[in-house]
Symmetry: C2
Subunit: 140 residues, 2 copies
């Protein structure tokens, strides 16, 4: 998964946000580390390039990118949050609590549930990255 910084930068600037070297570095790190990344891993990665870059900045940037739908966040049962570049097609995950295996689930698969929520309760689910925890075939 890669990201087009030009395009993202233009969009953010257009919305009145600023594209700082810190934010670029942090987004690059999420991209390069790949998959589900912890804030700590991102912090360590950017630290190597710019040692003065602060932890708080990493967390704020990551949350900012979440708000802007550029990355998605998942809070794991162990309390840690993992981040991932939001691709062009939103998806969800089945995550094995034992071995960590990770199945990508299309938005499609949740649509029936979300439809029923809307029809029966008038409720619009607004979560674009849900992780369902459980056990995979091997770990059961």
């Amino acid at each position: 998964m890669s990201h087009n910084m030009e395009e993202i930068a233009a969009r953010l600037r257009g919305a009145g946000y600023r594209v700082t070297p810190q934010r670029q570095l942090i987004l690059d790190a999420v991209c390069e580390l790949g998959g589900h990344v912890t804030a700590e891993a991102v912090y360590e990665s950017v630290q190597e390039i710019v040692p003065s870059l602060n932890q708080g900045t990493v967390y704020r940037a990551l949350n900012f990118f979440c708000d802007e739908r550029i990355v998605t966040a998942t809070r794991q049962p162990d309390g840690r949050t993992v981040y991932e570049l939001a691709g062009q097609n939103p998806h969800h995950h089945f995550v094995c609590q034992v071995c960590g295996a990770d199945y990508e689930v299309s938005q499609q698969m949740l649509r029936p549930l979300f439809e029923r929520a809307r029809q029966e309760y008038g409720f619009a689910v607004e979560m674009d990255h849900i992780s369902f925890f459980g056990r995979c075939r091997e770990c059961r």
Copy 2:
């Protein structure tokens, strides 16, 4: 929602756990406060009766009751965790991020999704209290 301490105590003792006054107090507090309760609220409540009762004990007891399926926990988007007595029939929630409205969703409603997870991926979802965040009819 009420709880039968006798029955729960017997089950826990049978499994080799101990039924301490602290645990009883904490479970009573979850019951009396009702609905979705924060650990902080439980702590303040039990504090009034036994001031020496420690915060760590509250968190450990709450997690213990979760493991034992006596209460359920939900981590909200704001980072706080709310607890609720697990009734006889497991259920999930649609929670409005704007007004906090809370719709109870039967296990039934998620079964088709969980079935597909099992059939297509061999994956067994093991979450008995999921909260889907979004917006209710009025807040959209």
